[in-house]
C-alpha cells in the first residue's frame, strides 16, 4: 500500500557501550531508534531526512523500572505497557499510568517507550505533563560519562533539547511524592483513542495543614515545549484548600501558555479549555478530603 520505500541503514549494537561508541565515532550520523512509533510515521511519509538508525533494543542498561525508598527510576526503553503493569507506578504516580493508558492504543503502548516520548520532543506528547508535575529528572549518558538534568530544563525550545549528539537518554528518575498528595491528569484529545492531544494537563499537589505546600502543573500542546504552569502554580501555592483563588489562577495561566492554531485545534480553544481544565482541577483539589 505504501508507495514510498526509503533506503535506510539500521545498526543493532549489542550493548549500550557499543551504541555510545557508534554515536561518538560518527557524530550526528545516527538516529537512535527505540520503539520506532514516532520514527516510522515520518519514515513512511517520506518526511525523515535521516537514513541511518541505531536500534537500541539490545541495550539492556536502558530497560527496567527500579524502585528505591525515595524514587522510581525508569529505563528509557520502558514501554507504556510496562508503566501500566507496574504496581509501584500505580501507587506513587497515578498520572503517569493515565498518560500511558491514553497513549495511542494497545499496540502503540506495547512498542512505544518513555524515552522516545521524551526525546521525540513533541509538545503534544502525553507523558511529559505528568513527568513535569512529579519533578522528574533525566539521566543522560555518553562515553564522556553520565549527567542528570531536571526534566523541566531539558526541553529548550521547539524540538530543541539539552541532549548532545553523542548522548542517549538513559533513565527517567522520579521522586516519590511524600505526605498527602493530590493527583490530576486530563488529556483532551481529538477522539477517545489513537488521538493526539489538543490540551493535556497534569498536576500534583502536596497538602500540609490544609494548605497547598507543594504544587506542580505540567502542560502539553499549549506551548512549543511541554511546560510548567509556574504563574498559575504561584497563585495557588500556600493557599488554604477551602479558599483557592481559582479565577486568579486561570488568569495567571495565560502567562504560562502560548497556544497556536493548527490542523488539530485553534489557539482560542486551547486557551479557553486549558483554563477550564485548570478550573476543574482546582475545584477537585479544593473539594479533596485530607
Amino acid at each position: 500500500m505504501r508507495s514510498y520505500l526509503p533506503d535506510f541503514d539500521l545498526q543493532v549494537p549489542d550493548s549500550l557501550g557499543e551504541a555510545l561508541a557508534l554515536l561518538t565515532q560518527e557524530l550526528g550520523q545516527y538516529r537512535p531508534f527505540a520503539g520506532g512509533t514516532d520514527l516510522m510515521v515520518l519514515l513512511n511519509a517520506g518526511l525523515l531526512p535521516a537514513a541511518r538508525f541505531l536500534d537500541l533494543s539490545r541495550c539492556q542498561e536502558l530497560r527496567g523500572i527500579q524502585e528505591t525508598s525515595t524514587h522510581l527510576s525508569f529505563g528509557a526503553l520502558t514501554t507504556f505497557t510496562e508503566v501500566r503493569d507496574c504496581k509501584a507506578v500505580h501507587q506513587h504516580f497515578p498520572n503517569l499510568v493515565k498518560s500511558a493508558r491514553l497513549t495511542g492504543a494497545l499496540a502503540i503502548q506495547n512498542r512505544g517507550t518513555l524515552g522516545g516520548n521524551i526525546a521525540n520532543a513533541s509538545p503534544a506528547a502525553d507523558t511529559p505533563p505528568s513527568l513535569l508535575a512529579y519533578g522528574t529528572e533525566v539521566e543522560l549518558i555518553s562515553l564522556r560519562g553520565t549527567r542528570r538534568v531536571a526534566y523541566e530544563a531539558f526541553h529548550q525550545g521547539y524540538k530543541k533539547m539539552d541532549l548532545a549528539p553523542d548522548e542517549l537518554l538513559q533513565r527517567i528518575i522520579i521522586p516519590k511524592p511524600l505526605g498527602r498528595t493530590f493527583h490530576f491528569y486530563r488529556k483532551v484529545g481529538t477522539r477517545q483513542a489513537q488521538a493526539i492531544s489538543k490540551i493535556c494537563l497534569a498536576a500534583c499537589a502536596r497538602i500540609e495543614n490544609g494548605t497547598v505546600a507543594e504544587f506542580r502543573i505540567g502542560l502539553g500542546s499549549v506551548a512549543p515545549v511541554p511546560a510548567r504552569a509556574r504563574n498559575a502554580e504561584a497563585v495557588i501555592l500556600g493557599k488554604p484548600l477551602e479558599a483557592l483563588p481559582i479565577e486568579e489562577a486561570q488568569l495567571a495561566l495565560l502567562a504560562d501558555i502560548s497556544p497556536i492554531d493548527d490542523i488539530r485545534s485553534s489557539a482560542h480553544y486551547r486557551r479557553v479549555v486549558s483554563q477550564k481544565v485548570l478550573g476543574q482541577m482546582l475545584r477537585e483539589l479544593s473539594q479533596s478530603s485530607f
Partner: protein, 746 residues
C-alpha cells in the same frame, strides 16, 4: 432464503487473509506508476522540466500529448482531462499533469519530486461564496455545474398571511470516505491494430463507467476494452467516478511501455486527490399556520462541486429531492445549484447529496419548534407525509405510510420523554456534563433519480453451470456491503435452492452484462429484482424444455441444469429493467415520481457534552427504519451500524482542513474518524412493509443510515445546551465552544 442470516460468501477468505486485493496482484514485469500533480489551484501550464540526477531514459513518461483517443474522462459531462496539456488550464491543485513508471519504487518517488512544472498562475476561486459571487469565472459562464428548480404551488402568495415565517442557514463540510483499501489499479495492454486490447483490474464500484472511460480515452470499441473488478476494501461512493481517472492513467503508462503497470495510491495521496462529499450551504424559509402546519417552503440549496462536474448534477438532484424531508407542504420552491471552485472535484459518497439537505431540514424543524414554542415531536407529526399526499415534485405517496408510528416506536425505545424530563433537571445543576436526547425523521429514495433507471435499462442474468449450480451475472460489485451474499439469496429464493448452490460470477465486463453502477441504494432492490426475474426465466425454460418438473428438490434442479448444460452448452437467462408504466417523470420540469419508492427512518441520539472541553459523547443511539423487507438481517444491521458510525463522524469530528484548495490533514492521525471507543452501541430496528418494486419486497438501505445521525446529534446538543447556533457539521468541540460563547459569553 430471503430473511435468513446467510454467511458472507467472501467472508472466509477475508478472515483468513487470503483475499486478493489489487495491490496483491502480481504481473510479470510490471512497473509501478506515479502521478505528478499541479500543486497550484489555477493557472496555465507553460512547460514541464525534468530535473537533474534522475536516469530519465529508464522511465516511462506520459503527458497529455501521448493520449491516443480523447483527453476527457467520460462522465455525465465530459469536462475533466486525464492530464493537463501544455497551454491548457490547471483548475485545481491536485490535477494530474505527468505520469511516470519505473520498476524501482524508490527511484520513482525521487523522480516524481524532480519534475518541475512551469505555470502561469491565475487567481483562484476557493470557496462556495466566491464562486457564486463570480469573483472569477472559472467554469462555463456562471460557475454553475448544474442548476435545478422544483416548484409546487405558489409560495410567494403565502408569506404575508402565515402565522410564523422562520428562516435558517445550515452548512455541512466535505467528508472523506476512508475506505480501508486506498484506490488501486493494474493495467495490462496490447497495442497494434486491429487487435489492440486494454485490460484493467482494480478497486472500483462501477465497471462499466471505467469501461466507457477507457473506450473514449483510447478510442477503442467495446470488445477491445475489458474491466475486471477485484475484491474491494470498501468504497462508500469513493470508487464510483475517480477509478475512471486512475484506470486511464495506469492504462496510458502500460500502453506506452508495453508492460503491465500498477498504480496504487498511498493514504496521503488518496486523501488529497480523490473525491469527497460535497460541502453544502442550505438556506430555508418556512411558513406555518397557527397550528404549526406547513404553508410554504423555500429552499436554496448549494453544493461545492470542485473543479469539474463529475457526479455533481446527480448529487445535486438527489439533495434537492430530499430537501423537504418527510413533510407535506402545499407550496414549495427549491432552488438548487452546484457551483465550481478550484479544488479537487467532489463526488459520490453514501447518501449522495441527501445527508446535506436532510441535515438542514431536520435541524430546521427543531429550530422552528423552539421558535414557535412547540414540541418537535408534535410539529413533525402534524406535517408528515401520508398515503395520498404529494411530495414537492408531485409524486403521490402510494404506500400506507405511518411515520408517526415509526417515530413513536423510536422515542419509546430510547426513553425520550422520561429522559427529556430527567435531563432538564440534571442540566440545571452545576455538573459540567450536560445531557440531551433528540431525533430526526427522514427517508432515502431507492434507485436512480427520476428517469435514470429507465434510461440506463440495466441487464442482469443467471447462468446454469456444468456442475448444476447457478451463477449470478451482474456488473454490481462487492465492496463489503454483501452483494455476493444477497444476490445469491435472492436467486436461491426464486429457485427454491439452498444458498450454497448459487454463487456470483467474477465481475468482468467480458462476461457479465451491464447491470449499472453499484451506487444509489439500487443493487439489492433494482438489480436484485432483475435477478429474481432472470431466475424465474431460467426455471421456466428448464421446465419448458422438459428438464425440470415442479415441484422439484434442489437435487432434481441440479440434475436438470447438468443435463441442460450437457445438451445445450450454455444456459443463461437475462432480465432487463423496463420503465414501469405507472411511474412518470419529467426531467425538464422536475415533476413526477422522483423514485420508485423510499425507505423511511427515524433515528434518535442521546448525548453528553462536557462544558469543560466541549467534547461530545454519544451515549445511546436508536436507528429504526422501514425497508420493505430485510434480505439478510446480519448484513442489513451491519449496513445500518456502519452508516450510523459514518454519520456520527460527519456530525461531530470529520473535518477536511484545506489550505489553498489542498487538504492538509490528509492522514488518519489528523482526519478524525471515530474509533470503536468513540461510538455507542447502535440499536437497530427494522420494520417491514414489502414493496413490489424489490425482490421479495426489499427496498434499498445502503445510504439511508448516513442521512439521520447528524441532525439527530445536533438536535440533541440543542436539547442539552439550549438554542445555540447549531447550524453546521461537523460540530467540532472548537465550533461548539464558539457557539456556546455567543450565547453564554466568554
Amino acid at each position: 432464503m430471503i430473511g435468513a442470516p446467510a454467511i458472507r460468501k467472501e467472508g472466509r477468505a477475508k478472515v483468513l487473509g487470503s483475499t486478493c486485493y489489487t495491490d496483491d496482484m502480481s504481473a510479470e514485469g510490471a512497473l509501478h506508476g506515479a502521478t505528478v500533480r499541479s500543486q497550484i489551484p489555477r493557472g496555465i501550464l507553460k512547460g514541464i522540466h525534468f530535473g537533474e540526477g534522475i536516469p530519465w531514459n529508464e522511465f516511462v513518461i506520459v503527458t497529455a500529448a501521448d493520449i491516443p483517443g480523447k483527453n476527457r474522462v467520460a462522465s455525465i459531462v465530459h469536462d475533466q482531462p486525464f492530464l493537463v496539456g501544455i497551454g491548457e488550464e490547471i483548475t485545481h491543485p491536485e490535477q494530474p499533469v505527468v505520469l511516470l513508471a519505473h520498476g524501482d519504487r524508490q527511484l520513482l518517488v525521487k523522480a516524481r519530486k524532480a519534475v518541475r512544472l512551469e505555470v502561469e498562475e491565475l487567481p483562484a476561486v476557493l470557496d462556495l461564496q466566491s464562486s457564486l459571487d463570480l469573483t472569477q469565472v472559472i467554469y462555463g459562464t456562471n460557475n454553475l455545474l448544474k442548476e435545478i428548480h422544483i416548484r409546487k404551488g405558489e409560495p410567494d402568495s403565502v408569506w404575508s398571511q402565515a402565522a410564523h415565517v422562520i428562516e435558517g442557514e445550515y452548512r455541512t463540510g466535505a467528508q472523506e470516505q476512508m475506505y480501508l483499501e486506498p484506490n488501486a489499479m493494474l493495467a495490462v495492454t496490447e497495442r497494434g491494430d486491429p487487435n489492440a486490447q486494454v485490460t484493467v483490474y482494480g478497486s472500483l464500484q462501477c465497471p462499466y463507467y471505467v469501461h466507457g472511460a477507457l473506450k473514449q480515452l483510447f478510442d477503442l470499441p467495446d470488445d477491445q476494452v475489458r474491466v475486471i473488478a477485484l475484491e474491494m476494501g470498501g468504497a462508500f461512493g469513493g470508487k464510483e467516478d475517480y477509478p475512471s481517472v486512475i484506470a486511464g492513467h495506469a492504462a496510458l503508462l502500460s500502453w506506452k511501455s508495453g508492460k503491465p503497470v500498477k498504480l496504487v495510491y498511498d493514504r496521503e495521496e488518496d486523501l488529497v486527490c480523490t473525491t469527497k462529499r460535497h460541502p453544502s450551504r442550505t438556506r430555508i424559509k418556512t411558513a406555518f399556520d397557527t397550528e404549526g402546519k406547513f404553508l410554504a417552503l423555500e429552499i436554496d440549496f448549494v453544493l461545492d462541486g470542485g473543479a469539474y462536474a463529475t457526479m455533481s448534477p446527480v448529487v445535486l438532484s438527489r439533495g434537492a429531492l430530499h430537501s423537504t424531508s418527510v413533510y407535506c407542504c402545499p407550496n414549495v420552491h427549491i432552488h438548487a445549484r452546484a457551483a465550481a471552485t478550484n479544488t479537487p472535484p467532489s463526488g459520490a459518497f453514501r447518501g449522495f447529496g441527501a445527508p446535506q439537505s436532510l441535515f438542514a431540514m431536520e435541524r430546521h424543524m427543531d429550530v422552528c419548534a423552539t421558535q414557535m414554542g412547540m414540541d418537535p415531536v408534535e410539529l413533525r407529526r402534524k406535517n408528515f407525509l401520508k398515503i395520498g399526499d404529494s411530495t414537492a415534485t408531485g409524486q403521490i405517496i402510494q404506500e400506507n405510510l405511518d411515520l408517526g408510528g415509526l417515530m413513536d416506536r423510536v422515542l419509546k425505545e430510547i426513553g425520550y420523554h422520561d429522559k427529556q424530563k430527567a435531563f432538564a433537571a440534571h442540566n440545571a445543576t452545576d455538573d459540567p456534563i450536560k445531557r440531551g436526547v433528540a431525533f430526526s425523521v427522514f427517508m432515502h429514495g431507492c434507485g436512480f433519480t427520476g428517469s435514470g433507471e429507465a434510461t440506463m435499462a440495466s441487464v442482469a442474468g443467471v447462468e446454469g453451470l456444468a456442475d448444476g449450480s447457478v451463477s449470478v451475472l451482474a456488473a454490481s460489485t462487492e465492496m463489503g456491503q454483501g452483494k455476493n451474499t444477497v444476490f445469491s439469496q435472492i436467486v436461491a429464493e426464486a429457485l427454491k435452492l439452498p444458498v450454497d448452490m448459487v454463487n456470483t460470477a467474477i465481475v468482468d465486463t467480458k462476461y457479465v452484462p451491464n447491470s449499472g453502477p453499484t451506487v444509489g441504494s439500487r443493487t439489492t432492490m433494482i438489480v436484485g429484482k432483475l435477478l429474481e426475474d432472470a431466475a424465474y426465466g431460467l426455471k421456466q425454460s428448464l421446465i419448458q424444455h422438459g428438464f425440470l418438473k415442479e415441484p422439484y428438490s434442489p437435487e432434481a434442479f441440479k440434475e436438470a441444469v447438468q443435463k441442460a448444460h450437457a445438451r445445450l452448452g450454455s444456459i443463461k437467462s437475462y432480465a432487463q429493467f423496463h420503465k414501469q408504466p405507472h411511474i412518470v417523470w419529467d426531467d425538464a420540469s422536475y415533476r413526477g415520481d422522483a423514485y420508485p419508492t423510499f425507505s423511511w427512518a427515524c433515528y434518535a441520539a442521546e448525548i453528553a457534552v462536557d462544558t469543560v472541553t466541549f467534547e461530545v459523547k454519544v451515549e445511546d443511539f436508536v436507528a429504526a427504519q422501514e425497508v420493505g423487507r430485510v434480505v439478510n438481517p446480519v448484513l442489513a444491521a451491519g449496513q445500518i451500524e456502519g452508516g450510523v458510525a459514518q454519520g456520527i463522524g460527519w456530525g461531530l469530528w470529520e473535518d477536511v482542513v484545506s489550505n489553498q484548495g489542498r487538504m492538509v490533514n490528509n492522514q488518519m492521525t489528523n482526519y478524525i474518524i471515530p474509533t470503536s471507543a468513540d461510538l455507542p452501541r447502535i440499536r437497530v430496528i427494522f420494520l417491514e412493509n414489502p414493496h413490489p418494486a424489490g425482490p421479495g419486497g426489499a427496498k434499498g438501505i445502503g445510504e439511508l443510515p448516513m442521512d439521520g445521525p447528524a441532525p439527530a446529534l445536533l438536535n440533541a446538543l440543542q436539547n442539552a445546551l439550549g438554542p445555540l447556533r447549531l447550524d453546521e457539521v461537523p460540530m467540532t468541540p472548537e465550533r461548539l465552544l464558539t457557539r456556546y460563547e455567543e450565547v453564554y459569553g466568554g
